[in-house]
């Protein structure tokens, strides 16, 4: 069965430190992988996606994500966290061969950046 796991409900990082938000997935065949961010009382915003090619994908607001096929992971990273990065982060996946047009969504990880 296709699935996405975000193993941490919450991640706390001090401002200025690097941050990682974890995501692992299970799909048939190669994946399309996405990260979205949801700021308080706002809709979701697209951050970045992996289609193919370079395993390191760069996105909005200084975020990047690393695709690791052997570990079936797509962790979100940022070298230096800002207080304004505090938000809810969602990972999503769709299988390359998947005829179902839905995205499979993770449960979300709340990122808290402490000043």
């Amino acid at each position: 069965a296709q699935s996405v796991a975000q193993p941490e409900d919450q991640v706390k990082v001090a401002e200025g430190n690097p941050l990682t938000v974890k995501c692992t997935y299970s799909v048939s065949g190669n994946p399309y992988l996405f990260w979205y961010v949801q700021y308080p009382n706002r809709g979701l915003q697209f951050l970045l996606k992996y289609i193919t090619g370079d395993n390191l994908v760069k996105g909005s607001y200084g975020f990047e994500a690393e695709f690791n096929k052997s570990q079936t992971s797509f962790h979100l990273k940022k070298p230096s966290a800002l207080v304004s990065d505090s938000a809810l982060y969602f990972c999503a996946v769709r299988g390359f061969l998947d005829s179902n047009y839905q995205l499979i969504w993770g449960a979300g990880t709340k990122l808290i950046i402490k000043p």
Binding site: Y32, F34, Y36, R42, G43, L44, Q45, F46, K49, I51, L88, F90, R94, D98, S99, N100, Y101, Q102, L103, W105, G106, A107, G108, K110
Partner: protein, 115 residues
């Protein structure tokens, strides 16, 4: 350009009343999705439309929920005989096409409160 818009932003209704939620997707986007999100929780897929094809209604929680998309653009989600458990934020998203590597762009949501 203009993003996805939704109206109303907030709706308070009495139990048993019908409500209509509107979504105006990004111009040129052929795919439109409706999701439901309970407070601080993950996304629950409801329905999606792709062009003139029959919609995928597999996520609708009951027959009180219905949606239509007129002229391949604006969509309306209707909830009949609302119940308190329908209280949530209803999010609409659109994408250039359904499936593949096409990312979804979200509206700000409609917060529905059933009293």
């Amino acid at each position: 350009g203009a993003g996805v818009s939704q109206s109303p932003s907030n709706k308070v209704t009495e139990k048993g009343k019908d409500v209509e939620l509107r979504c105006d997707p990004i111009s040129g986007h052929t795919a439109l999705y409706w999701y439901r999100q309970s407070l601080g929780q993950g996304l629950e897929f409801l329905i999606y439309f792709q062009g003139n094809s029959a919609p995928d209604k597999s996520g609708l929680p009951s027959d009180r929920f219905s949606a239509e998309r007129t002229g391949g653009s604006v969509s309306t989600l209707t909830i009949q005989r609302t119940q308190q458990e329908d209280s949530a934020v209803y999010l609409c998203a659109s994408s250039l096409v359904a499936g593949g590597a096409s990312e979804q762009y979200f509206g700000p949501g409609t917060r529905l409160t059933v009293t």
